[in-house]
């Protein structure tokens, strides 16, 4: 089979909420002989005084990410980076980001990072759920408990003004379920679409596939309703309008998509 390479979506970056810009690399890979896509997204939150990057992307995406940050930030330095958890698509570019922006604060649950990236220990700043980061002009970033996670040191983040929750590996799924072998790896405009804009809806099968892989434990734990009920309650309390997962299109119609994700989670259970 052909050797596939991660690439930046040609239709990104784009603004998906007030102060929130979506950047993404798409990782094509083979499933049952077909090429399908998986997002490895990063998000830039820009306030009047400071900017914050959610997740860093895979190291292989650094050249384009660096160029896009230059475009978006101009002369402003990136003030904060919030890796949701320490996996390569989420932390892989940390050393390069710190090299590019020496004063950047790496915030979140930063346990283990001093062991993985000893060269950036001085930039690490532990944060706990409920901590607020003021970005200026009424924009703030709230560190949130990750209600769906794999690694225990996972956190979510919320921007109240944008109504946007960054959910790491939660709410993940594949897109373009009908992709055939002959189709090109990237079709213009699809990777950067929100769920409302997609021509084909998120499917239970795709949600189940990704949940069973990214959240492997879902194969053994039969408590999806408890988990997603708690998520929806939290979303309602906070006023979440947009969900920004690292792997998947940005979700702008939560009421339509959440039941599918939940059903996919349930379907991942095997026993």
């Amino acid at each position: 089979m052909e050797d596939l390479v991660e690439t930046m979506s040609s239709d990104l970056p784009r603004t998906v909420a007030d102060g929130v810009t979506w950047l993404s690399s798409c990782l094509p890979f083979h499933v049952d002989g077909r090429v399908i896509h998986g997002h490895n997204s990063t998000f830039l939150v820009q306030g009047g005084a400071a900017s914050l990057l959610v997740d860093t992307g895979n190291p292989s995406s650094w050249p384009i990410l660096s160029a896009k940050l230059d475009e978006l930030l101009g002369d402003r330095e990136l003030a904060y980076v919030f890796p949701t958890h320490p996996e390569l698509p989420h932390t892989g570019n940390l050393p390069r980001i710190v090299q590019k922006y020496p004063n950047v604060q790496v915030i979140g649950d930063v346990r283990d990072y001093h062991l993985f990236y000893p060269q950036i220990e001085a930039n690490l700043h532990a944060r706990v759920p409920g901590d607020r980061i003021d970005l200026g002009d009424g924009y703030e970033f709230i560190v949130s408990e990750a209600l769906i996670r794999d690694l225990p040191n996972t956190q979510w983040g919320f921007v109240p003004k944008a109504g946007t929750m960054f959910t790491a590996d939660g709410f993940c799924y594949m897109h373009r379920p009908e992709l055939d072998d002959e189709d090109p790896v990237h079709l213009p405009g699809e990777c950067g679409l929100t769920t409302t804009e997609l021509s084909s809806p998120v499917t239970v099968q795709n949600a189940a596939f990704f949940t069973g892989s990214a959240l492997y434990w879902a194969r053994f734990v039969n408590d999806a309703d408890r988990v997603y009920d708690r998520v929806l309650e939290s979303f309602a309390d906070l006023g979440v309008r947009t969900v920004a997962p690292t792997h998947g299109n940005v979700i702008t119609n939560i009421g339509d998509v959440e039941p599918v994700i939940r059903a996919g989670h349930k379907q991942a259970y095997r026993y």
């Binding site: 050797d3 292989s60 892989g92 001093h114 062991l115 993985f116 053994f220």
Partner: protein, 282 residues
């Protein structure tokens, strides 16, 4: 620092980390020091490194490797997981040694993280070990094997008990099972303490400690349907009868009696009744 586990055939390298509240994979409040391990398997002039250890131990690992294989020496590498505690020394190793083959799972080629010139030179040396499955179900039985050297094979399997994609290795020649991020519960009371639990060690391990370490990372286990995991683990150990359990962190467990005892601890941690009790106590 390195320790021979079975003559020159199997050597453990790495370092130790203080359990100071900044480590996510151990129980809250854990104290002491935990070994961080990578393993060098030698067969004649052939070498296979299993995992690359923590970046914070880069100097000691690479210096030990240089002492064992020579500066610029040739070796292959196999990563049990694509997580940072397994992969974070790849770049310095690839720079300092002749990395002939790299065996990893998943679609991401780790060399794509490298700068352009070195990436192009190395990319083709990566072998994806899970490109094809040879069995059905959640455990990828015998997905691949790696020739360590002539006549010696490391068999690779994706275990049923895992959080992210993980591969265990089985080296029949030394009777060693490489269990990555499970069986990681062995800790030391000082940084230069005993890295191996065997018949010469005062083993004070308790079932609660084993469960605490397992649940620290596998926090879903207390909520899980555990019986399939218990059955798989028990059958695997019965099939292989390992003499050595070699985790990527935590003390190495050596000797059939020690292995049996610690397997029983792990099976207890995977019993739903025990999980409930420990979960309530947390």
């Amino acid at each position: 620092m390195f320790t021979k586990l079975k003559n020159d055939e199997l050597i453990v390298l790495g370092g130790s980390i203080p359990l100071d509240g900044r480590v996510s994979w151990v129980p809250a409040g854990a104290t002491g020091f935990q070994p961080s391990n990578c393993y060098l398997l030698s067969e004649g002039s052939s070498r296979l490194l299993i995992d690359s250890g923590l970046a914070v131990h880069s100097s000691e690992i690479l210096n030990d490797l240089a002492g064992l294989v020579g500066e610029g020496g040739r070796l292959s590498a196999f990563f049990t997981r694509a997580e940072m505690d397994c992969v974070s020394n790849l770049e310095p190793i690839a720079s300092r040694f002749d990395l002939e083959r790299l065996f990893t799972g998943g679609v991401i080629n780790p060399f794509d993280a490298f700068e352009d010139l070195s990436r192009e030179a190395l990319r083709g040396r990566r072998h994806q070990i899970d490109a094809e499955r040879s069995g059905e179900g959640d455990s990828l039985a015998r997905a691949a094997s790696i020739e360590i050297g002539p006549g010696r094979i490391l068999e690779i399997e994706a275990p049923l008990l895992r959080l992210l994609m993980t591969f265990w290795g089985w080296d029949a020649a030394t009777g060693t099972l490489f269990t990555s991020d499970t069986f990681t519960h062995g800790v030391m009371d000082r940084p230069d303490g005993a890295r191996i639990i065997d018949s010469t060690t005062a083993d004070t391990t308790t079932p609660e400690q084993v469960a605490g370490h397992l649940y620290a990372k596998y926090e879903w286990v207390p909520r899980a349907t555990c019986e399939p995991l218990r059955e798989w683990l028990s059958a695997k150990f019965q099939e292989l009868d390992p003499e050595i359990i070699a985790p990527s962190r935590g003390c190495v467990l050596r000797g059939h009696d020690v292995v049996r005892r610690h397997l029983d601890f792990m099976l207890t941690a995977l019993s739903s009744q025990h999980a409930d009790l420990v979960s309530q106590a947390r």
